[in-house]
Symmetry: D2
Subunit: 292 residues, 4 copies
């Protein structure tokens, strides 16, 4: 029977990545005593040498299905470990490939306390990736995306100056209290390599991100808690630049024992309330560079 | 030659809408002395009787192309007139149809003054629709979607109460000045029927929407103008409910001479800065109901 | 303490829908012996009388959280029942509202056999809605969206004519076998009211939709099964019009015992492989109209 | 007056990219005798040294507005030249930046002949980028994204084998004619550096992409032309791997005189008609690597 993919070519080009994108599957992760079911989306690739016409894409789906089935028994405890297992299996099944790559995205929920008292179930986005090479090298990373709030420090000081000139008699108060500014929904994310023999908790990354914003946001807020968040955000006015730097600082603090070649990507985008466009800041770096 | 679409069926079902969606074309509109080129997306439908197997969809594309070509010569002066012309032509070309429907969406740009001085070119979204019936009845509407800003009146009063209890000596000032609250990007839209012998300027709808928000937003803002917008928004704190009602009030004011059966759809969605979800308000009504 | 939302207004306008959109939560559904965890997105609304300034949106989130918590104990067995419970509770908590509305969307997975043998876990989209009125009336519906395949009957006959004129000696074969045509990814959906004392299985709707396409699609396909699907699709060439009519016919067959006022919405959109735009067909109707 | 952005920091981190995203503006390009108005979306960044608190984002908008205004007079003849001009101006206005980056995306329309006769206005997506460094180095690139059609060679051979075994008497015909397979909408893109003293026509890239697919697609097709496209696609069955390699081959042919360090990114994604997921292939390379 004809195997079109296995036809040999001459004078052709190798390909960097060949595979399937946007495959949706439910995934069960067991982390400590907590078992969660996530709806995940997968991109699954290998490279292709110049002399082969096609990659056998059905193998990517078979590998995915097999690794997900095994993970129900084996209690895979993170998305990046799942990604890594899929990568290893891809190299076995695609004997012509020199490397494999898997990206996974999934909504994730976490119970969060609302300023002393009630709790609220909040949604986050997890992003796991892994790459494996035929020579045995491999790499995996975990990332999270968090929706929070930023309040602009610049407009706040400009308005404060105005208030001071209008109400000079209240200088003391006006210098002491937070002043109105624009604030807005912000989407920040952090991705970090997970080296061999290390573990990175996605929930720690969520804490880092929420701690770097003017304020985290919560779904259920009584009037009192709304005011708490508004006060907190205005007591911590931040540009997107500040958010990214505070993420980097917390990463350096938390993961200083990890190797220097650990890659870090931190980014923050504010859906500006006074503009139709977004404000954006990003740092792509390594732990070694941050330590320097 | 076989014409599969024209095959006759027995015991089948009529269809409400059959056609093509997401057809992209450049469109030239001449309005007064101003000629603008827009990148528009079209949905183009007719109904289909039970006894016909298929609608000739290529005719929809031919009609679109023909009407757009003619509009370059004839200076079509609005998207809803274009939509109406396409609808009329559809009924001629689809002799089996009893009604036709066209929806058009396009980004639109308008030069806006920034608080006394500089100007900024702002983007909006236009939405035009038309339906035509074999019996001669027809209807067309124009709508706009505007990105602006809302500041929450509820959190503001809650925080004011706190400030008052903390600084009772400054009661007068704290009751007089705007207090911090959450504010955010808001997307509001207004769609209104354009009856025969009436004209509705899309730019009037944009003015109504921007006038109903806590503040419009502008792309180019020096520090001074940022503070102006922040002050304006906090002097006009609004729920999404307030935004929709102020739109309705302005519509009633501006279009009171139009017939009672003119349909109106006003809606406002705030991308809440203190939540991950959005706040939403909507009114679907007629001019007659609003007058009552 | 100030309750801004409860301020009384004069000469204002009532609002059709006020609430929150795009609230993400995990949901557990127990259906027979099968328990599934879905990642769902909720829109939650009530109406608002003219004399009230604002709707208490935090109540929508509290109601959602409470009903989801109870559903873990009570084994809610469908999304539309969850939606209905939320609607009822909304009318209790928003004492000023005359109606409530809830929309839920969630990815759903179902094990499907691949042409005799292996199985493949396929993804679908569920859409549940409910509305409740103060006078006791209520309505709920369930819908599914399915990705499948259509092959065009028109191009097939045109090409067949060409082949026949080129190879008149093979007339018999060329009239007997499926001929090449354009085929493509199709997204079809069906929504149907679920009247009191009736039950509608989402999996039945999935079966109806997959049975109405040229062929369903599967994620894991060995070469043999790819060919099976290609053959099946070309043996069942269908316009989007055909797909919608076959859905309607199957609905009429399956749900003929349900009341005449049951509303039905069937639609099919083909992401045409020979065009950049989509082909679309839709019928919005009632079971009574279909029976007529 | 306080300039919060200019505050000096100690022990902070430099940032890779700080700026604004998704700024929409109309753009006029004059290319030869043809003047086109495009609706473009801009991302505009500079880097930020560790010791500065914030980037002055309003300058990005001012630079954009100024360069677009000038381009109306100066007849900018490509999006990548516009991007390059914005980059240069950014380095002047952000005196602290060591590099700048601009990305532009815009729908583009091109009149295309339909197999000998009528013409059809087709839509494409342009992607231009530029980066500039303080040391005088700079780089710009142009890319296009094209929607077309692929037909699968693998399923075709599998089905052919079946037909041959079922109709052995017609072996000659069945080996000579195209056989049914799955075909689908494909989105392919090509981005290439535009070195100094060279020019790359976006329309040439569109031709390369459309020439590398099983068949280009057209918006207006009479029945005859539909059949032409179906026949063409089935006479050129292609995997996404084939599409990318044919793009690379055409690029090597057309741009062999450009320097070896010219970067090339070619990718192809088929929205598989027999699967719910997509098939994907990509090559990221340089002209020098391709020549090797």
């Amino acid at each position: 029977m004809s195997d079109v993919q296995s036809q040999l070519l001459r004078g052709s080009f190798k390909l960097t990545r060949v595979g399937v994108t946007d495959v949706k599957k439910p995934v069960t992760i067991k982390r400590g005593n907590k078992e969660v079911v996530l709806t995940a989306s997968f991109d699954i690739f290998v490279d292709l040498p110049a002399e082969l016409k096609g990659s056998h894409l059905s193998r990517n789906l078979e590998v995915l299905s097999q690794v997900l089935d095994e993970s129900v028994r084996d209690h895979a405890d993170s998305l990046e470990i799942l990604a890594d297992r899929i990568c290893s299996e891809l190299l076995i099944r695609h004997e012509y490939a020199t490397c494999s790559e898997v990206n996974i995205m999934a909504d994730y929920f976490m119970e969060r306390e609302v300023n002393g008292g009630t709790s609220s179930l909040e949604s986050y986005l997890l992003k796991a990736t892994a790459v494996s090479f035929r020579n045995g090298e491999s790499n995996k990373s975990i990332g999270v995306e968090v929706i929070g709030m930023t309040a602009c420090p610049c407009a706040m000081e400009e308005v404060r100056d105005r208030y001071l000139s209008r109400h000079p008699e209240s200088e003391e108060l006006l210098k002491a209290i937070p002043i109105i500014t624009h604030n807005q929904r912000n989407i920040s994310s952090l991705e970090i390599d997970v080296p061999a023999n290390f573990d990175v908790e996605a929930e720690d990354l969520i804490n880092i991100l929420e701690g770097s914003l003017s304020s985290p946001t919560r779904e259920i807020l009584k009037r009192k808690h709304e005011a708490d968040i508004v006060e907190k955000a205005h007591a911590n006015p931040k540009f997107v630049e500040d958010v990214v730097r505070d993420i980097l600082s917390a990463v350096l603090d938390k993961y200083q024992n990890m190797p220097d070649d650990v890659r870090i990507m931190a980014k923050s985008e504010s859906q500006e309330s006074i503009h139709k466009h977004n404000a954006f800041a990003e740092r792509v770096t390594t732990l070694g560079e941050l330590k320097a």
